[in-house]
Symmetry: C2
Subunit: 293 residues, 2 copies
């Protein structure tokens, strides 16, 4: 029996979907983080745990894993030799490690031309034009990931401090933010010193919430973020070309804030990244086999 | 014998100047870092090491430390209860722990009205108006320190990646920056992941260097930084009021980039922060004594 497997893995967890040659899902599993940049062995363990759950869910024995053809979409797959190293560590018949952005593209727009923007804690832009896939951004919180939740949350804390210092005028959002830190800037300093992208990202939803009520600072922060998003969109693909999907936790929140030319080509995603991994597995393994068989 | 002591301490080192009641320096010493935010006991040890060197330099015995009246200017002095905790740990007759910004103010403009901007790896604004001292900014690299070397260096890496991705147009500076990372954005990602303010700050001088040759990106980054500096200046003190000193490694580089209204009140600093600590010791201890004697 020919088995296809899709894996969607990252820092927060790993999901597996087992499918038949047509891409119909027959079993699912999930496990812990699969971060191949920081812990490739831990990633391997969690990928196999999710896979075995999916096999069990499909009523199959764990030994069936040797007949699996897998597509794994993993954050950090495009850094150094992470992808080929992991491929060699896996027990599957065939394995292709792709970036999380690539499987998100397949999930959201299939094999059509268009652009997918992942707007979560981080951000990344992936586009397909005449079959050619290109990824931009997504270089991490400290020097990239514009428009992401982490950057938006960080920007909010910076502006709250500027309002506290009297450099910029205050707003209900700035006041709310300072109140969350007991109106003590030193508490923000202490928080920021050890905060990572996830920690800063927790403040992003507050910006959208206050923007709904017309808060001046919230609107300014979102306007700046939208400008960076639209600059990247203009760079990867002319606005009139192909569909556009904004996915990730902040995707739907940003959608209504885009300028009309970009809003006009917005589409709901066809499916999620895990579904995209399965789709790509069908394309890479089942179709290729059919072509040759 | 009445002894006054000035200490200028921070993450990179600690300097001591021993002075007589008139503020004339009679001995100097230096030692390792005095970071009271992360290691108050280590700071105490290095402060005492620098003090004993200064006593030795003045031909005095270490036991003389119990007759010292000291002003210590230390980064992080305004956070939590760091200052009173350290004051209790020191063997001096009297000790006052102030922020590094306060002694820089006394060093640069004495007891006149005016504003001092420290523009080094971090940034902070300190101003005196009608005797009242106010500090703004300086809340750290991640959410503040606008215009600092760390922020400017970080901004440069972000723009180099945006040029690499084709989102912004490139420039000789953007190309030079990418070349320093072997034209491999993943090298910037790896660098940024573990980089702290000092690491990012190493790229700041390059921005000023390229600005001299009219590099578009360099000029843009400096223009943005100058805008944040001038906004803070306008908030702390109207341009026509008091002298302005830009100190720290980037101070002189920014000076010529200010708009005319701010350039018009620029003055060279009278002295450095260590000298400011001694001046403040004279004001707090010697003068006060004279008033009462």
């Amino acid at each position: 029996m020919e088995l296809l497997l899709g894996i969607d893995g990252g820092g927060t967890g790993c999901r597996a979907a087992l499918a038949d040659k047509a891409g119909r899902v027959i079993g699912r599993g999930k496990s812990g983080s699969a971060n191949i940049m920081t812990d490739i062995e831990g990633a391997r363990v969690n990928i196999l745990a999710a896979t075995r759950q999916a096999l069990q869910d499909a009523g199959l024995d764990a030994t069936a894993e040797t007949s699996i053809s897998a597509v794994l979409g993993l954050a950090g797959a495009n850094v150094g030799d992470n992808a080929p190293r992991l491929e060699k560590l896996l027990p599957f018949a065939r394995a292709r490690v792709k970036s999380d952005a690539i499987i998100a593209l397949y999930g959201a727009i299939g094999d059509a031309d268009g652009t997918v923007v992942i707007l979560g804690t981080g951000s990344v832009f992936v586009t397909r034009k005449a079959g050619h896939i290109r990824t931009i951004g997504g270089w991490g919180f400290k020097v990239s990931d514009l428009g992401s939740g982490a950057r938006l949350g960080r920007d909010l804390l910076e502006e709250a401090l500027l309002a506290h210092d009297g450099v910029h005028s205050s707003s209900p959002l700035a006041e709310k933010t300072m109140a969350m830190f007991d109106n003590d800037p030193h508490r923000i300093v202490t928080f920021a010193r050890s905060a990572g992208p996830n920690d800063f990202g927790t403040y992003a939803p507050l910006v959208f919430e206050y923007a709904e009520n017309g808060d001046r600072l919230a609107l300014l922060l979102i306007e700046r973020a939208v400008k960076t998003i639209e600059e990247a969109l203009d760079a990867v693909m002319p606005p009139e070309k192909g569909r556009l999907c904004l996915i990730g936790g902040l995707g739907p929140l940003y959608a209504s804030r885009l300028s009309p030319k970009h809003r006009a080509r917005l589409h709901a995603p066809l499916g999620d990244a895990l579904g995209g991994a399965v789709k790509l597995a069908v394309e890479l393994f089942a179709h290729a086999e059919a072509d040759h068989g």
